[in-house]
Structures are given as C-alpha cells and as structure tokens.
Symmetry: C2
Subunit: 111 residues, 2 copies
DNA sequence: TTGACATGCAAGCTTGTTATTGCATATAAA
DNA sequence: TTTATATGCAATAACAAGCTTGCATGTCAA
C-alpha cells in the first residue's frame, strides 16, 4: 500500500528537486505561465515537467487555472511561510541565543 | 557515475525526510546527544540513524564531536537561515505585495 | 469539419533512497 | 586482560523518484 504523506513531507519533498525549484523561480519571475511556456526553460520532455508541476501542486506551492486548452500556473508562497515558522524561526532563536551567549562569554573573559 | 549535488540540493534533500526532521527536533530539544541517545527515539536500527545523521552532516545541519568512544551531535541552524534568505524571504515579498494589492483594490471598490 | 495545438494518462526503464543484516574496530570498565 | 559498550563500514534488498515513449482527448482556427 502507498505510504500516506503528511503536508510537511509533501512540501519538503517538493522543494528537494532542482527542476522543481527552477519552476518556482520561473513562476516568481513571471506568474501565470502555461505548461508550454515553462517547458521551454527545462531540459526535459513536457511530460516530465507536468509531473514536477503535479508535485508542486500537491504541495500547495502552485495553483492551476484553465483558460481554454491552456493551463496557467500560479505561485502560492503561503506554504513557504509555514516552513519558515515551523523550521526556521524556531531554530533561529537558538542561533541568536548562541550568539548572545558567546557575546556574554567574550565580555566576561575581558574582565 | 554519481551525480554531483550542490549545497542547496544537499540541504533540501536532508530536510525532505521525516526521520531526519525528527533528529533535528531532538537536537533542538537537547543538543549534544550521542548516537545511542538519538536512536532511542527512532524506530529503526542504529545503522539507519547513522546514515540519516550522515546526510544531515553533509548538509551542514549537524556537527559532530568525539568524546572517547562517544559521538556527540550538535545542531547548526545556519544553513536554515540561508534557505530563508534565498527561498522564503524572496517569495514572501511577493506574498506581501499581493496582500497590499488586494487591500488597494478593496479600498478602491469602496469609493 | 478538418488539422494543428495544448495537454492528459499510463506503462516501463533507470537510478536513488531508505533500511536491513553481518562483521569489524576502538574505548572503557571489571 | 578480558568483556561490554559505542560506534564504523559494506553489501544488499525493497521501494520510491525521475524521465521517457506512445497514444488519447479536448480546444481553437482555417
């Protein structure tokens, strides 16, 4: 049976591939591109790109709107914000504390 | 031949596994734990945990110090900060702009 | 209504990842 | 110096990921 993946896993796995990160950059540069637009910048078949976009969609990083026979892709940065809060800000506090402890130690050693 | 991975790739791939994220949380809760300490919280063999820690080390997220026959593990949050700057702050600006555009549109529609 | 275009769906190949088992080595403790 | 502890290294098996090829479908334009 296929393993059930939670949202965090979908998100980090989506980001763990250079082609997908490139797609995010492409959409950041110009939102609302069609599949064909995006394909022109990646060195793989259209079907490969489709699969990557599917992963980004499943992770909630990309939203799709159909216009006739064209599929327009839009970036959704909200999940990135969630990563920040859960996985960066939390660990950042520790880093800042370490710096401040170091500072205190240095000041103390100057006594 | 094995594909050469850049730093960003090592970092995101390191984060793309729930066991490794759990290890980061464990070290965040209590830094400097030995391999055996960490093993007690994961449902896999010691060797499995060793391999995960190797991935975290390669990504620069964990640093190791030997004390006799014990291996102590320390968290390094600096690479997370780099992710923030390159992959979150950048996209966050777009999100804030979208919100501000929405606000302007709403204000306009109230005229 | 025909042909070109934009895309979907699915099978299959190749490679990478995760975890295991088995054995080896170095350090500490009895 | 023997035994237990903490760990490393390597081969392998099971599974997942990435990409391709081939064909199908819906939409637009002449």
């Amino acid at each position: 049976m296929p393993e059930r993946l939670d949202d965090t896993d979908l998100l980090f796995k989506a980001l763990a591939d250079p082609s997908r990160r490139k797609l995010l950059d492409l959409l950041h540069a110009h939102d609302g591109q069609t599949l064909n637009d995006l394909c022109e910048h990646l060195d793989m078949t259209r079907q490969g790109v489709t699969q990557h976009l599917g992963v980004l969609e499943a992770a909630g990083l990309v939203t799709v709107v159909w216009r006739g026979r064209e599929k327009l892709h839009f970036l959704n940065p909200v999940p990135l914000q969630e990563i920040y809060e859960r996985w960066i800000a939390k660990f950042e506090k520790r880093r800042l504390k370490a710096l401040s402890d170091l500072k205190k130690r240095l000041e103390k050693s100057n006594d």
